[in-house]
Amino acid sequence: MGTEESNYSQINPKRCKGCAACVVACPHGCIEIGSEINQMGYQFARFAVRKCIACGMCFYSCPEFGAITVFKKPRKGA
């Protein structure tokens, strides 16, 4: 899971349908399909690795409205 000090993608488990578009799109392998099942019966994606560069590819590839939000670490001094 990401922290406020690092870039991360926040995946809304209630909206994710587990299509893995974000898993395929992420150039750094930060996202995986978890073992938990959401209320719709899908195994939803989860942010797993702290190598996120906040490129947004997971967001751009996601077919579900509001399922992914990308958080970028603020620049120092910003």
Binding site: C19, A21, V24, Y60, P63, T69, F71
Partner: protein
């Protein structure tokens, strides 16, 4: 692409093309597509599916062997979308073939995507009113590249409009309460 808010160029607002409206949300400027057509003149706006309070853009789409309907955020650079089907993992690097949901005509056109690492040779062509001004969206699934081709607007201004993209933390803040 930087995760920073991109101001809408004043020069563009002064010559705002028909079919695009300017709105202010929480003190920030946004461009919102409000009229869009296929090449046969059918409207591609879906009043019944709204994103951030505005009608979305709807298309029929084929990704790999799957077909369905997709709804796109009408906020320029918003990139939110909703699919009526779940793309398969095997098709993630496929081209999205788009069709008019009314007449079924193909919306595809040739255009080389210059977005880093993409290089897709096809785009989805959407017409603004009059059929002269156009929006081109890269057909590669997951590529954020898009172009607004507007007559009478200098290329430098078009380039700045093209760079307007929102997502991430700021995206969330930007649309909060909309």
């Amino acid at each position: 692409m930087k995760l920073v808010y991109k101001e809408v160029p004043v020069e563009f607002l002064a010559a705002l093309p028909e079919g695009i409206k300017y709105v202010q949300k929480q003190g920030k400027d946004f461009l919102v597509i409000e009229q869009l057509y296929c090449k046969d003149g059918h409207s591609l706006m879906a009043d019944h599916v709204r994103m951030h309070g505005e009608p979305s853009i709807f298309l029929d789409a084929k990704i790999g062997s799957l077909r369905g309907r997709i709804f796109l955020d009408a906020f320029w650079g918003g990139h939110d979308k909703l699919y009526s089907f779940i793309p398969r993992e095997a098709d993630m690097h496929s081209i999205t073939e788009a069709y008019c949901p009314h007449c079924g005509i193909s919306l595809m056109t040739e255009r080389l995507c210059t977005y880093e690492g993409c290089g897709c040779a096809l785009a989805i062509l959407l017409n603004l009113p009059g059929g002269v001004n156009r929006i081109l969206v890269c057909a590669k699934h997951g590529c954020p590249d898009h172009d607004l081709v507007v007559q009478r607007i200098p290329e430098e201004i078009s380039r700045r409009v093209k760079k307007i993209n929102y997502f991430g933390e700021f995206h969330d803040d930007m649309f909060k309460g909309i």
